[in-house]
Symmetry: C2
Subunit: 394 residues, 2 copies
C-alpha cells in the first residue's frame, strides 16, 4: 500500500508551512538583502563567551549536565531565570519557572494542556505566524482581536470573549511581531482584569521586551494578574542566542504549570542541561546588562536607518515607529499589493514578508513586515531605496 | 474567577504522570539503591570530551551555531547521523534524518502528524510508559499486542490490525523497555510486511540497539521496509549523554517527514545547533566504537551481577535474560504483588518500578522492571539480596 495524505490527522492535512518556507529559500541567493527574517544580528552573538561558559559549567557540574534532568528544570537556571524575569516586573519565584525550547515550546505545551479541538483562541490581528501554525496544529479556532496603535482594543476583546468563550488569549504586548506596536499600560491592566473576570488564560509572549531603544518599560500583563491566569513566556533567543533554544515560562498557577510539565515530559523529557547551565552562568556572571546595552545601541541605529528609508516609499505609505524589538510594519496606499511588491522586490534582490501571512484569515494585501536587525546600516539604506523604487514602479 | 481542572483539554485531565514521579522522588533519599531509573551510568559520561568538542565546534562554526537553524536539521549532523544509522542497517541518507530532542520528540511529532482523537495505536504489552503517556496526550486509543520471549506475536498483531484499523504501531524491537526482549529476525521482516500490506506506520523505537553484550545484531525492521512505512527513531541519550537531548529519526517517506518537520516547527523551531554540532563532532572524530566497547563491557558485568542476584528471589520467579540494553524484567510467582513488594523494598532502601505501570490497561501485578546500569556491582549484589529477602518475606 502507498502512504497518502489521508493517513495524516485531519486538521494537519492543510498545514504545510510553505508560504514562509519559500521566502526563506530565496534568501539563500547571493547578494539578497533580507528584511524578511527575525534573527538577531550576527554581531550580537558571542561564540567565545558561550564556549568559555560551556567549558566552565561542564567542569563545575561534570556528569550531572549529561545525565537525565527533571522536566521542570535545572535548579540553578530556574533561580537565575526567575531573578531575570523579576527585573522585568514578572511576579515569580524559581518554582514558577518552566524552561522551554525557546518561547515556541512554552506556547506549544500550553496549547497541549488547554485545547480541545474547536476551542477558540483569541489572537491579535495581525499576529506571529508561527503561533498561527501552532494553534492550527491543536485544531483551535482562531478569532482575531482588532488592534490599533496601542495594541489590542480592550472593548472589542471583551465583546469577543462574551461571544466565543475562548479558553486562551495570545498576546505579544511589547514590540509586537509583526507590527512593532506596544500595548499601552492601561490596556495591560485591562486585559489582566478580563482574564480573571471571564476565566481566560492569557499567553503573554514577550521575547523582545529588553530590546528597548526609546521610552520607558511598561509593567507586564502578568504583573497585574493576581489569580494565575497569565502565563508569561520569555526567551533567551533574542537576548543571547536562538541556536541554544532556551526560553523560560513563568507559570504561577501550580495546576497549569503541572499540566504543562506533563506535556513537556512527552514532548522532549526536559530541556538540555548544558544549555540551561550556559544561560544560567551567563546571567550569574552579570553579562546581560552590558550586552543588552551594546546590542540595543546597535539595533537603534539600524531601526533609525530603516525608518528614514521610508522616505523613498510612495506617498500615503504608513508605518509604525517602534520603540524597540526587531520589526517595522508598513501599510502601502490602499489598493497596492504587497505580494506583487514582494515578487518584484525579490527580482531586484530585496526580500521582506508580505503582511497577509500574519492574519489567520488572510487579506490586508497592502501590508508588509520589515526586519532591520540582520542588515548593517549601508545595506538597510540600499535595500530601502531599492524597495521604495520597486513599489513606486508597481 | 478561579482556575480549575475543567479548563484543561478533556483527554489531558486524567493524565497526571504521578505514579513514576512519586517513585523518582523516593530515589533522592540518601543510601537508596535504585533499580528504578533508565539512566546511563555516570561512568559512561564524558564531560571533558563534551567540553572539548563544544569549544572546537564553537571555534569552527562561530555565530552559525548560535543563530536560528533549519527545522530539518544542521547539515553536518544529518550526514554523520545517517552514516551512524547505516552501520545499524538503517536504509537512509542525510536527507531522511530529522534531529529530535531524544527519541521522545520523534514519537511526539509522529503522533502529532498522524493521530486524530480516537485513532488506534497498537503497542507491545507491556511497553515504555513514557510512550503510553505520549499516546494518551494525543487522545489515541491504545491497543496492546500480545508478546512472548521473541517480542510481538505477529499473528495476533495482524488480527488486531484487521479488527482495529490502527494508523500506527509502536514497537521497541531491541532490548525492549521494560522487558529487555529482542524481536526475532523473522518477526522483524513480518512486521514490515504487515505495515505495507495494511498501510500502518511503524514507529521503530531503537535507542538501546548498540548496547549489545551478547549475540549477533539483527537487521532493523526499517531495513525490510520498501515503501516508507517505518519511522526509525534513534537517540544519542544512551550512547553519549541524555542531558544533551539529541536523537535522530530516519524518515524515508518524504510526505511524512515533511509533516513531522511542520510539527517540530511549532514544537521547538529546531534542535539546538550546539548540541547537534557536538554530537556530529563526536561521531566524526570516530569516538563511538571505542566508547561503546568500553560501556558495553561495563554494562555486561552489571547485567551478569543482576541476573545472578535472582538466586535470592523466591522459587518460581521468572526473569528475562537480555542480550543488551538496560533492563531486566521479572515475574514473581502468581499471586505475589509487586506494588506491595515495592513499598516494602523502599522501606528497606531498594527501589524498582512495578511492572503494572507498563501496561496501558494495568494488571500484571506480579511483574517488575529492574535497571542495572546506574549501580556498581557491589551495590547490585547488595540490592538484589535485599530485594529477594523482602519479596520472600511478603
Amino acid at each position: 500500500m502507498q502512504f497518502s495524505e489521508e493517513k495524516f490527522a485531519r486538521h494537519m492535512r492543510p498545514i504545510n508551512g510553505s508560504a514562509i518556507r519559500e521566502i526563506f529559500k530565496l534568501l539563500a541567493r547571493p547578494g539578497m538583502i533580507s528584511f524578511a527574517g527575525g534573527n538577531p544580528s550576527d554581531t550580537a552573538l558571542e561564540p567565545r563567551v558561550v564556549a568559555r561558559l560551556a567549558g566552565e559549567v561542564l567542569e563545575k557540574y561534570g556528569t550531572k549536565l549529561l545525565q537525565y534532568g527533571a522536566t521542570d528544570g535545572f535548579g540553578p537556571f530556574r533561580e537565575s531565570a526567575a531573578e531575570f524575569l523579576r527585573h522585568s516586573r514578572v511576579n515569580c519565584t524559581a518554582d514558577d519557572i518552566l524552561p522551554t525550547q525557546g518561547g515556541t515550546q512554552a506556547f506549544d505545551v500550553l496549547l497541549k494542556a488547554l485545547i480541545d479541538p474547536g476551542d477558540v483562541v483569541l489572537c491579535e490581528s495581525p499576529t506571529f505566524l508561527g503561533a498561527i501554525q501552532a494553534m492550527r496544529e491543536y485544531n483551535a479556532k482562531l478569532v482575531e482581536m482588532p488592534t490599533d496603535d496601542e495594541g489590542v482594543i480592550v472593548e472589542a476583546a471583551e465583546a469577543l470573549i462574551k461571544q466565543h468563550h475562548p479558553k486562551l488569549m495570545y498576546v505579544i504586548p511589547t514590540f509586537q511581531n509583526p507590527t512593532g506596536i506596544t500595548l499601552s499600560l492601561e490596556r495591560r491592566r485591562a486585559l489582566a482584569a478580563l482574564a480573571a473576570k471571564y476565566g481566560v488564560v492569557i499567553a503573554e509572549d514577550d521575547p523582545y521586551r529588553d530590546l528597548r531603544y526609546a521610552g520607558e518599560a511598561l509593567p507586564t500583563i502578568q504583573s497585574f494578574d493576581e489569580e494565575g491566569w497569565v502565563v508569561y513566556m520569555s526567551s533567551f533567543s533574542k537576548y543571547i542566542a536562538p541556536g541554544l533554544r532556551l526560553g523560560a515560562a513563568a507559570v504561577t498557577n501550580p495546576l497549569l504549570r503541572r499540566k504543562m510539565v506533563i506535556g513537556k515530559q512527552s514532548a522532549d523529557t526536559h530541556s538540555p542541561l548544558l544549555n540551561q547551565a550556559i544561560v544560567d552562568a551567563y546571567l550569574r556572571a552579570g553579562l546581560m546588562p552590558d550586552h543588552l546595552a551594546r546590542i540595543c545601541g546597535d539595533y537603534k541605529k539600524q531601526l533609525d536607518a530603516m525608518l528614514k528609508g521610508f522616505d523613498a516609499f510612495p506617498a500615503g505609505t504608513r508605518h509604525t515607529v517602534p520603540q524597540g524589538g526587531l520589526f517595522v510594519w508598513a501599510e502601502l496606499p490602499e489598493g497596492m499589493d504587497a505580494m506583487r511588491a514582494f515578487e518584484a522586490a525579490v527580482a531586484q534582490g530585496v526580500a521582506f514578508v508580505p503582511g497577509t501571512h500574519f492574519y489567520p484569515e488572510g487579506g490586508y494585501m497592502n501590508t508588509l513586515r520589515l526586519n532591520f536587525s540582520m542588515c548593517d546600516i549601508p545595506t538597510i539604506e540600499k535595500g530601502m531605496a531599492k524597495l521604495g523604487e520597486v513599489i513606486k514602479g508597481l
